[in-house]
Symmetry: C2
Subunit: 298 residues, 2 copies
């Protein structure tokens, strides 16, 4: 059963118990373009107490650099090295875990942020924002020049998805022996501020479906993302807590990674999702209505 945080003592004990704080952003720190009340105070409080802060997002359309501008715009202090997006984690996975040889390439279904992270890791890409692949319309195999040096397809949310991109990715994945199929995240949808839109997992699903093959998935809740963070920050799981608003991504991510978890109710998870007969089997260690409540630990 989750511990419900309520008193000043509860919040002070929580802050004392953990050195590394992993934060989901949307639904925790902000809601679209609106800050959650008290979020900045709590982040400042944690920094004053010498806590290690890391922001963990499945957003794959932005590089860490472009994602930081969102923090700047909302007045939230953050260093690029504290931000872990699934685009960055996917790039690190391809370069450091897969150890992609320098003469091999990656075909990208995704946006400029994903390309930027791959390029920063020294990876040569095809597809992505290439204008030739970004035109809606039919694909002709007879005019297609196949590149056997593509050793991975990396797919994230791509709002300029085209049939050409799916066809080229499919050719690489079926014709190049051992070609890896990597997706930045498996989110079916994402909150778009004024509604819900299909997410990165939906965009990659035609390849899963056509190939009858599951991809290597990077983002939350997959452990790959936490392994990437661990490789850079060397945190102690026993003294680390993941704060999020989604049971099936954030909280499960913390659990799969062996760290503690705190659910806030300012995002997609409501009180009814964690109580009663239909409650999720994913049970956070701690629950509090809002991140702003931690101001009481001051």
């Amino acid at each position: 059963m989750s511990k419900r945080l309520a008193s000043t003592q509860d919040y002070s004990a929580l802050v004392d118990a953990f050195d590394t704080w992993l934060f989901d952003c949307d639904g925790v720190i902000w809601h679209g373009d609106r800050l959650i009340d008290g979020a900045i105070d709590v982040l400042n409080l944690l920094r004053q107490k010498q806590k290690h802060i890391i922001f963990v997002t499945n957003n794959a359309t932005k590089s860490r650099r472009s994602y930081k501008s969102k923090f700047d715009k909302l007045g939230v202090q953050a260093d690029v090295n504290e931000i872990f997006g699934s685009a960055y984690a996917a790039a690190v996975y391809v370069s450091s875990v897969m150890k992609l040889p320098k003469d091999k390439k990656v075909y990208v279904i995704g946006e400029a942020g994903l390309e930027e992270e791959l390029h920063d890791e020294g990876i040569t890409t095809l597809g992505g924002t290439d204008p030739a692949d970004n035109v809606a319309g039919p694909f002709s195999l007879s005019k297609y020049e196949h590149d056997p040096s593509v050793a991975a397809v990396v797919c994230g949310l791509d709002t300029s998805i085209t049939y050409t991109k799916y066809c080229k990715a499919y050719q690489h994945l079926t014709r190049n022996p051992g070609c890896a199929f990597v997706v930045t995240n498996e989110d079916g949808t994402y909150p778009a501020g004024d509604g819900i839109l299909p997410g990165g997992g939906a965009v990659s699903s035609p390849l899963r479906y056509a190939l009858k093959r599951d991809p290597i998935a990077i983002g939350k809740p997959n452990k790959t993302m936490l392994d990437t963070i661990q490789a850079k920050h060397h945190f102690d799981p026993k003294r680390t807590i993941m704060v999020g608003d989604r049971l099936d991504t954030d909280i499960l991510f913390g659990q799969l990674g062996g760290v503690s978890t705190l659910l806030v109710l300012t995002g997609v998870t409501l009180e009814g999702d964690i109580t009663g007969p239909d409650a999720s089997p994913v049970i956070p260690d701690y629950v509090t209505p809002s991140i702003g409540d931690l101001r009481q630990a001051a």
Copy 2:
């Protein structure tokens, strides 16, 4: 176990046993733009013997009228009423089974052939070939005007797929109570003449994935397609045979519809797929190397 047809007597007995002949086209009658040897002779032979011929295709990008031009081009006699495509069957399903009220609309992910069949059934459509929805690029909910009169989303192969189409379809399916989710077919891939490309099932998979909901599927192997044919032609299942090259669509389709089945080996299924320890559990009633073999029944 399947009966292997080999002698003149086998072929004559087969032709005598069935009055209605359902044919898959690609891999059976033709291969891309090349006729299967003897296919025209066999179709003519069946017509001489007063057999009822029906062509059953999952191709959803063409209307029956436009699909007939393929027959004309290859010199294969066919009447529009003998052709059943999954676009036509989907349109009949929406108009006759769902009984879509006249003041309701269908949002289309698909090509001109699917729109044409829907319009022929008196259905008003949105999306599809509308230029506004056929531009690759981001989708803005704040500029989107939602239409609550959309009562079904019909999705088939669409080589001009865009993120805008997925977003609009998703809004209809989540915001309009009871909005039906219909797919013309569930094929992961299709043979494109000079290779394999993602098919109609792949194109609709982002909606399945985002919605966590299975659609009403029309094309082979689903029984809906055969019900549509039955409604127009009133065949006797005991005297009907389905001829095809795919076990998981054509042969399964015949079996689910309670008609006999004949597998030809001129398409995707090879001898090794029906013999040995890894053979498919879908077992056709009859097997012959090619449709052309039936010339022996003359």
